[in-house]
Symmetry: D2
Subunit: 366 residues, 4 copies
């Protein structure tokens, strides 16, 4: 519907706002009534996404104080649409004016200009800025609380890989405890250390890195997902690709599954504590597009940050001739750590939507 | 909407039918009026998906003759909903009755039973059978013709990888010519030969293989995709995960991008024939969720076929105790070659939807 | 979505088929699993809509035998999409060819030709034929059974007015018993007699009549309707205007309410049998867009049948000059009696959709 | 989608905010890029809806200064979602606390309490307050400008009837000029005078009146409307019933059509200035659910204002026993004049949505 800024069916998220406009925000339509929620609940998640928190991230400093404008009364959701936003303050658009006709490689500058006839807000990347994901995080905070309070579902993302360094397999308890313990948001401390080194090296060279975020959702009941086109994996993949810089999504064994044999990949059914489970979890908790009660395991691959300090080839769109661009300002050498709460948010939003759709969460939860 | 059997916004596809029910079909709502289309156009694509065509695929023999029930008049679309179907004929459901209480590992038997309270049609896997994708292919045939006639867009999928054997990089001309030249649908003949050997070996051992299908779309104009949540990559990923057995999706450099540096991954803009292009195509033709005019390149990873001849551990759901299952019948050792036209179909459907959404295709095209 | 042939959110109806094409049908996506339904259940409703049943209606004779093509297994819904259709048989399109360039006043001929670039199926009015409502009735039959089995909701329409003759107020018991007792479907026998006379007179004069259908829904729980834009009255009105020839819709006191005073119109709250009710029902059971537990009362005004025997002024669209048209064939002098089961159907569909949306009906009802 | 606060397909409106919360607002997703729009454009429409403007309306005084928070850059729309709001200031919720357990007859108090489990924001009626329509008017202002700039469409509503006094038929020029010339917004000055007298009399008696608003849309091209379920009349009716207090909607001859004969009601086609028109406009500009190029004529019946000064019977919901209520504060004796700009707004929103859907307005209009 519209032009793509509306997501979901029952727990619906509407994104608005630009990087250098007045604000970035979100409306949730369909959040059940009776859920306790406060600005603090949301702020906690937003703070994890906020820039300027470590030496590894961009220098833009935003307070990013969430304001709930509607839909919450006496500390609880009312069933009405919840509008939330953060105001933009630390904005300097002048560098963008200088490069207006020179699209930055890897950025949306060129396609946005063509698609919107040049009317798009190009300041700070406008709608294509990662800042827009602040809205995802606000909505995700509500979704996380809803899932937790009603079904005990826990959604945890963490940095799985940066610059080729892969975190080892860790049990959920360790992930829960350590994922926000370091600046790279990787619970494997050894890997975290090596990732940090790589990041600092790339920054020193005016270059950037990519990586992989893994997200695990625990206590998801059997039955979420609406095949064939709103399968749980379909909708999770869709929303993950709505995060800037994501270039791949996989579940469970994922691409590796394509090189396995059926006898190796099939997860055998067993009975554990009177409950049907699978012995392994190559499926990543989704079979036939429906959750099977095992942990959801999904990974998103992030390309390296597009804004680098090195000069790059581009085109002057006014003169239609090739030229060079040096992107002004300082940039994150890697987006992966800040993407961790964003991935968590969008996974939670999608699980909440499906939990309502499948009847696991009622219209009134209080 | 509904329970997930409706896809898209303007070129909308509604899937219906079961593996062993009366038919498998599709309704398209939103196909522009005036497009020449015949049952032969659709049959051609269906024939590529049909089982029983080579020694590599299942023995079920369906004529799969498409019937157009509505929406086409005097050989052209009318703007009304197009209902199409194939009747099911070669159906023997008795083997499924025998294993009714023993969910097949890797299949949707268990989750479907829980989700639908045991009322789901379990014969032949019901809605979870790959046979349901016959509907995708019918709709895809219309989408392909629409894209081709109006925008000159060409959508070509082929087998990129089976059992770990990877096809080499080939130019579009070769892919176009050779992809349906062999039973594995791989235009790299050397690789195709090795894939075939692996498949026969796996079959001999009662086992199965997975693989990767790559899809390329040529002549896609700049501007398809509606960020943030209906980005072109979001919607393509969504639909690809609607194909049974897909466990991963990536664009351009994909997961490999997460291990590249920005200076290496960013596609430099250049001017070619008075047109802005990129020198490389690591983005896979999608930047910021919008097509950039370069070929769309997307890959879907298929897990190995779940039905294998070997005995497997499972649970007797009536007695709630562990047991063993031997899946009756003969099975495809690999689904990848038959998935090629399916991938093509769903990519074409999504491109058609976005082309109408973005105004590239009008309501009347005749 | 699409081009308007999809209705609803959770109990979704997709309409397809043309008057003189191969069939008229419907797909329901989102019907809960476990509902007992048979072709007989649907046939009973279809038979009430079928033409050629009395001297008052058109001579086209269709068997209109419903076939369920999917979504039902062992006599129960499975949770999968339900495709149903009737085949067209008694089709003679030649009269329509003769008047192809002369749009019939009051019909959609002209607008359809312009909108669809002349590619629309004009035989028998194509998609604009009242025959398309056979699909509504099939879906409505499922909705009625679903509402009845789960919530005890009963939906009853009847002829309230024809040619200015208005049926008296009657209690639900009488309406239930007598509404299908005569050819005009009016439970007030005196009024029915006068309506019949008027109809025969109009037919004798080559003219036609209009009228009003009233629909009552009993046992609707408090809480159906999703303000502000999917209010229960909004969605009921929307679907009623999807019936050909409807020109007005009103609830409760309706247009008469606009001439009442607040002290007269407000329905006082009282306690009856420990339940909150209203003493009067001027609201028609909907307040603030939400059902209030009182009977839903809605009326649809039908214009007189457009096809009349008298010569009429029109335009030759090829020559762009004024001319006269005499519409060939015999026509219903009034559509209202046959509209009764159609109104019932669409009201039931909308109530079912809202009952699922508001959580009153679960995904599995068996 | 969600819980009903999202309207439309391509020009999509999302409503949020409460009567006594922080603000009332709206998001538009899908407004084409390049449209010149300013806060003044919107303010002009808002001012017409604002309370406290005449002796005939409520005493609540809100500045209602619109703020555009996103989607507009350099004075033009960008193609991104447009968020707009007005802050609430003149708020005193204490009277509502006193009557919290006594639902006001004719209001949504009771149904909202049941539906949302008592968590709804009841202050000032919350989401059920007519104040929420300020959001409709903001979105309508954008829609009106879009329609006007691209297609020359003009949408004009006016008071047709109050308390039984009916305005005479007037040509569009007179309606355009005089509809905002008096406090009742009725271009027939004689009728306006009598309406005013009736209103003052009703107020004096502590009672209220209802009425009818007629809306005319000029220059609507042939072809708007997507049958069968998104017919133009279907979607207009739907949105009109989203305005509080609307109990009936009719097009052209409307309910009166049900008492006409076909020979009288059918609008004959003629050629005027080389264009196909109809001699009369009984259809109200919509045939077969599609605009026919004639003026759209639609009427909405408003019930009398529910809040009256007289004591009324109601129920104490805590004690579940009958009681009496006297609604505190001063109230509008009639809502119709203030509803005029609201009707205009929602009709414009729906026409804009359909104009984009049918391809009459492009994604970029600048």
């Amino acid at each position: 519907m519209g032009t793509g800024n509306i997501l979901g069916e029952r727990f619906v998220v509407v994104s608005f706002g630009e990087s250098h406009g007045r604000c970035v925000g979100v409306v949730i339509d369909g959040c059940p009534a009776g859920l306790e929620i406060s600005e603090e609940d949301i702020q906690m998640e937003l703070d994890r996404r906020r820039p300027g928190q470590s030496i590894l991230t961009t220098q833009r400093r935003e307070q990013d104080r969430v304001e709930i404008l509607s839909g919450v009364f006496n500390g609880r959701t009312t069933g009405a649409p919840i509008c939330m936003l953060v105001w933009n303050r630390d904005v300097d658009s002048s560098p963008y004016l200088r490069i207006l006709n020179k699209p930055r490689p890897g950025h949306a500058d060129y396609v946005a200009r063509v698609k919107y006839g040049g009317f798009n807000d190009w300041r700070g990347g406008g709608r294509f800025s990662a800042r827009v994901t602040a809205g995802y995080v606000m909505a995700g905070a509500v979704a996380k609380k809803l899932l937790s309070k009603t079904l005990g579902i826990e959604v945890m993302a963490y940095t799985k890989e940066i610059g080729g360094v892969v975190a080892g397999e860790l049990p959920p308890e360790v992930i829960r405890e350590r994922r926000y313990a370091n600046d790279v948001r990787c619970p494997d401390e050894e890997a975290a250390k090596r990732m940090t080194e790589l990041i600092l090296k790339a920054r020193g060279e005016g270059d950037s890195l990519g990586g992989v975020v893994e997200c695990i959702a625990l206590n998801v009941p059997v039955g979420l997902g609406e095949p064939v086109f709103s399968s749980l994996d379909s909708d999770l993949a869709r929303v993950l690709f709505s995060i800037p810089a994501v270039k791949g999504v996989e579940f469970g064994a994922g691409f590796r599954a394509s090189r396995m044999r059926g006898s190796e990949h099939n997860d055998p059914y067993v009975v554990r504590n009177g409950r049907v489970e699978t012995l392994t979890n190559n499926s990543g908790g989704v079979v036939g597009g429906i959750s099977n009660g095992m942990p959801i395991v999904v990974r998103a691959a992030f390309k390296p940050v597009s804004s680098i300090a090195k000069p790059q080839r581009t085109v002057d769109l006014e003169k239609m001739r090739e030229t060079e661009i040096i992107i002004p300002g300082r940039h994150d050498p890697v987006v992966v750590p800040r993407a961790v709460p964003i991935v968590e948010a969008v996974v939670a939003i999608t699980l909440a939507d499906h939990a309502v759709r499948a009847g696991f969460i009622k219209n009134v939860v209080g």
